[in-house]
């Protein structure tokens, strides 16, 4: 139990490195401010497939294949893959990865899946159960719209708090040992539900979950926000990011210098008509596996706290009038070895 810090956090006992990473992004994301960080940009939403669901599966498969290739490994070297997405029965993952022949653990953490997969993969390696493990997730605007909202051609109006589901996928390959960047701490979030029922304000619904996990992380590790060069939440968007920063500020944590949100970074707010910013599993995954990892490799950031946020509701619970339970998982990534 020596690896546990406080109530929600673990500090990894060995070096667990992020060996490689890869991203696939949609056309709109490929026109955004982070375009140059994406490895593959899809020219159109079906990507040569028969349906958007098939396209999303192909995104996950491509991201994993490229990440494994970037690591100089073969698919057979990966002991576990942890994957999930937003679709019913997580079909994006299971259909996308069915041909890869890697021992597969399917996850559902809504948009927090990247942090969940990264957490568990790191623990598997730190526990000595795997030498190499991968984590992947995706979201696709068109598949998410038809499942959670309206048909694409339906004439609806988006309120200013509405977010835009990112079409994107991100995959990471983790290894025991290695030269870093290292996964050092994992803070697993609790389900937080502040009674928000407005499905058009996901950022507002999820912000308290991010606040809860961040405060747990700071308490458990004894670190202050300024320990990190970058603290990044998953998909709170412009509305949720400002709320989270304000709530943390009220509790004495200064988030003004190094805090941002993947949903705010991936689109240009006005020009790309993104309203309150990006959302979806692919939002935090593509920003982590694109921008953040590449900048860490360059040395721009030394310590990053990645906090992917998820809204755990379904269309059924919304119609039944229930509120939106939310979650956030934090993963601390550092260029410095925790063992040195």
């Amino acid at each position: 139990m020596s690896k546990r810090l406080g109530k929600q956090t673990v500090a990894l006992g060995s070096n667990v490195s992020i060996l490689s990473f890869a991203t696939v992004a949609g056309r709109k994301e490929g026109e955004g401010p982070l375009a140059s960080y994406f490895d593959t940009i899809m020219e159109e939403a079906t990507w040569g497939e028969q349906s958007w669901e098939k396209a999303e599966s192909k995104m996950q498969k491509t991201a994993v294949q490229n990440a494994v290739q970037n690591a100089g490994l073969t698919l057979g070297d990966i002991n576990y893959i942890l994957a999930g997405d937003l679709l019913n029965q997580c079909i994006g993952s299971s259909f996308g990865l069915r041909e890869l022949g890697i021992p597969f653990l399917g996850l559902y953490g809504a948009c927090s899946t990247m942090a969940e997969g990264l957490s568990l993969a790191s623990m598997l390696i730190d526990g000595g159960f795997a030498q190499k493990a991968a984590a992947v997730t995706s979201s696709h605007f068109c598949t998410a719209e038809r499942q959670y909202r309206n048909p694409l051609e339906y004439g609806g109006q988006r309120p200013p708090t509405a977010q835009w589901t990112v079409t994107g996928a991100g995959a990471l390959v983790l290894s025991e040992g290695g030269k870093g960047p290292y996964v050092t701490h994992i803070t697993t979030g609790k389900i937080v539900d502040m009674g928000v029922k407005d499905a058009n304000n996901m950022g507002g619904a999820m912000a308290p979950a991010a606040v809860s996990t961040l405060e747990a992380h700071f308490n458990d590790t004894g670190r202050a926000p300024d320990f990190y060069d970058l603290i990044v939440t998953g998909d709170l968007g412009f509305v949720g990011r400002d709320i989270a920063a304000e709530l943390l500020g009220e509790d004495g944590y200064d988030m003004s210098k190094n805090y941002n949100d993947c949903g705010c970074m991936i689109f240009e707010r006005q020009k790309q008509d993104a309203h309150a910013g990006g959302s979806g599993c692919g939002c935090s995954a593509s920003v982590l596996c694109g921008y953040i990892m590449k900048e860490m490799m360059k040395g721009t950031f030394c310590n990053v706290l990645f906090v992917a946020t998820g809204a755990l509701m379904s269309p059924t619970t919304l119609l039944q009038g229930d509120s939106i339970p939310s979650i956030a998982h934090a993963v601390a990534i550092s260029a410095n070895s925790p063992k040195s």
């Binding site: 949609g26 056309r27 709109k28 159109e44 939403a45 605007f141 068109c142 719209e145 048909p151 694409l152 051609e153 609806g156 109006q157 309120p159 835009w164 079409t167 029922k197 407005d198 790309q272 008509d273 993104a274």
Partner: protein
Amino acid sequence: MFMQYLNAFWVGGLICALAQILIDKTKITPARILTLLVVLGVVLGGLGLYDYVEKIGGAGATVPIIGFGNSLAKGVIKGIKEDGFLGIFTGGTAATAGGIAASIFFGCIIAAIFTPKEKG
């Protein structure tokens, strides 16, 4: 002639602008607003009140979905006058049969021909 278009414009526009308040100021979803408006049309039609709106607005009153509700109610009343009790059931859909059939038929054809596109 010109006046009729001006009236259609402001009556139709006003109905839409009022419905927009519901969209912006309440959490009522668009599908519920449409249902609300069609039932409102049935009630106004049953009371004979929508005739006044239609007299001023012309297409500005008949094109909004309230007009569809009005046609349903007027059709039922006409059906009762012509066929008695059976008209309660046949009148409404008979009066709106053209619109309902057209929406099903065009829906099929258009959906068979075209596919949705990605947005943004």
